[in-house]
């Protein structure tokens, strides 16, 4: 149960990264998973090749992930002239394959072991029958911190409000003197960072290989769809639900576990395409 929630929080965190990009540029970034994978590999590389302490490696990785996000936006998406949404999505798919290829070339396709400085076997039992691992606590703490930060950022800072403004009306944002292109790079860097954090959590649970983010990405995407692709709190709840549903199925019908994400996507899209938690805004003329 708690474990499911923790995984859900991970999905939620990762889905937040997807949503930030979707909100600013209306593109579902399919390269998100691979961006996180690449950043995790960088962390792995710094840890194993240079033997740096974990926190230093963590900071370097975070910086790297921001740069990676900005670079991908700059190199792949910005040069596209007259981009249609579909075209942009295809571009992100291309970026995904590029990153995956690059990672397998550099680090090889075999599975690596990646660990956070947490001992996963340390568990707590605050209430009888409720077991919390160290990992889950870390996930909850980090997710809470990031959510709090995002809330304050989008609500009270000039840049945050400008990001929301750009998302709602790019044209008008330009007229206000907002450099919309800079906002896009910023959103990509930001989202890449959050994705990298989530990626490291996933990697420490499973193993690290160039395709390891594939499934978490799809699950997180399902969570994002469940939450409505637009609202960050909705996505976190969607992620938590996703984690619970998955764990539930994993417990009762293990065979169905990998499929459930897709069933959720399909059900949501059929029954409530705008997601569970979005308020729909219709433009007044």
């Amino acid at each position: 149960m708690v474990e499911g929630l923790a995984i859900g929080a991970c999905y939620g965190l990762f889905a937040t990264a997807v949503v930030i990009i979707y909100k600013t540029s209306e593109v579902v970034n399919f390269a998100q998973g691979e961006m996180a994978m690449f950043s995790s590999f960088v962390a792995f590389h710094i840890l194993s090749a240079y033997q740096y302490p974990f926190w230093l490696a963590f900071v370097i990785t975070m910086l790297f992930s921001i740069l990676l996000g900005i670079l991908i936006e700059f190199l792949f998406l910005r040069p596209a002239k007259h981009p249609s949404i579909l075209g942009m999505i295809v571009i992100t798919l291309g970026a995904e394959m590029f990153l995956m290829g690059l990672a397998s070339w550099k680090w090889g396709a075999e599975q690596k072991f990646f660990s956070l400085p947490l001992n996963p076997s340390v568990t707590y039992e605050p209430v009888k029958g409720m077991i919390i691992t160290n990992w889950a606590i870390a996930v909850f703490a980090v997710t809470a911190c990031i959510m709090l930060f995002l809330y304050i950022f989008f609500k009270f800072t000039r840049l945050g409000v400008a990001m929301r403004a750009t998302q709602q009306n790019k044209h008008a944002a330009k007229i206000m003197g907002i450099r919309t292109e800079r906002i896009f790079s910023f959103a990509w860097g930001f989202s890449s960072l959050i994705g990298a954090v989530a990626g490291m959590f996933f990697a420490s649970r499973a193993t690290l290989d160039p395709a390891f983010m594939m499934e978490p990405f799809l699950r997180a995407f399902a969570a994002a769809v469940l939450g409505g692709l637009m609202s960050i709190p909705g996505v976190i709840i969607g992620g938590a639900l996703m984690g619970l549903i998955e764990n539930f199925f994993g417990y009762f019908w293990p065979h169905w576990k990998p499929i459930i994400a897709f069933i959720v996507i399909i059900l949501v899209l059929c029954l409530r395409p705008s997601g569970l938690f979005t308020k729909h805004y219709v433009k007044k003329v």
Binding site: V161, I175, R179
Partner: protein, 260 residues
């Protein structure tokens, strides 16, 4: 103040502006009039360089000078920083931001927090209704309130020149008059030069100091409003005071004034 010299703008293969030249003098209210598709809004968009998305070299030909500096190859945000503010057609407020956040976004190019606060109060003086609605989402405002918000937002960058694209669009005659009075206030009290694009010729001629009439991407007349209001053609075409139908049933302007 603003000098537009022989500009041409193309939408793909269609030439929307066929060499437009005009000048806006400091402190004036200048209006651009014309029927649909005459190219009025295109002029404003060209000045703001909003057609940059379509093509990098817009305008294709000609120059635009603002306060003696060329702006026809600058980015939109630089132009805003130089002191031109633009109220787009159809208001374009940020629907899910609160009214106050919308107004704050207008001051995005500024860093001086204290004076921004004063300016917000100043905007609320012009539009008291916005103060009452300041925490509402802008998408829930009525059309007139949204228009006021768009104008107030544009004032927040402390413009020297304010360009308005059809501020009367979709508003009742009464509200239109209110908006126009406020525009005149902004011009006279705050000393902001105004370039106004309007369909409501009657109103525009009442409040403007100078008018340009456009047709098919050309400026066909440049005249003081008093003269235009008495003009037979203008009466017939725009003010709806019909005289007689010509043989063809319609008539084009004789091009009395051309800058080519």
């Amino acid at each position: 103040m603003l000098k537009v010299n022989n500009i041409e703008t193309w939408y793909d293969l269609i030439r929307a502006l066929h060499g437009i030249s005009f000048e806006v003098k400091q402190g004036d209210i200048v209006t651009l009039l014309g029927s649909n598709g005459a190219g009025k809004s295109t002029i404003l968009k060209t000045i703001m360089r909003l057609l940059y998305d379509l093509k990098e070299e817009q305008p294709e030909k000609g120059t635009i000078e603002f306060m003696g500096e060329r702006i026809d190859r600058k980015n939109t945000d630089e132009i805003v920083r130089m002191g031109i503010s633009y109220v787009p057609e159809g208001r374009e407020v940020f629907p899910e931001l609160s009214v106050l956040e919308n107004i704050m976004m207008g001051a995005y190019t500024r860093r001086d927090r204290k004076t921004i606060k004063d300016d917000i109060d100043h905007v609320f003086d012009h539009f008291p209704i916005l103060k009452a609605r300041k925490d509402q989402e802008a998408g829930h405002l009525s059309g007139g309130e949204q228009q006021m918000l768009a104008i107030g937002r544009a004032l927040m960058s402390r413009p020297k020149l304010l360009m308005l694209d059809e501020p009367s669009l979709g508003l009742s005659p009464l509200l239109t008059r209110d908006i126009f009075t406020i525009i005149r206030d902004i011009n006279q009290k705050d000393g902001v030069t105004i370039l106004l694009v309007e369909q409501n010729v009657n109103m525009a001629l009442k409040y403007a100091n100078f008018a340009f009439m456009m047709e098919n991407g050309r400026i066909v007349r440049a005249e003081k409003p008093e003269i235009l209001r008495e003009d037979e053609d203008v009466k017939e075409f725009y003010l709806g005071i019909a005289k007689e139908t010509s043989v063809k049933g319609y008539q084009r302007y004789r091009r009395k004034v051309r800058f080519r």
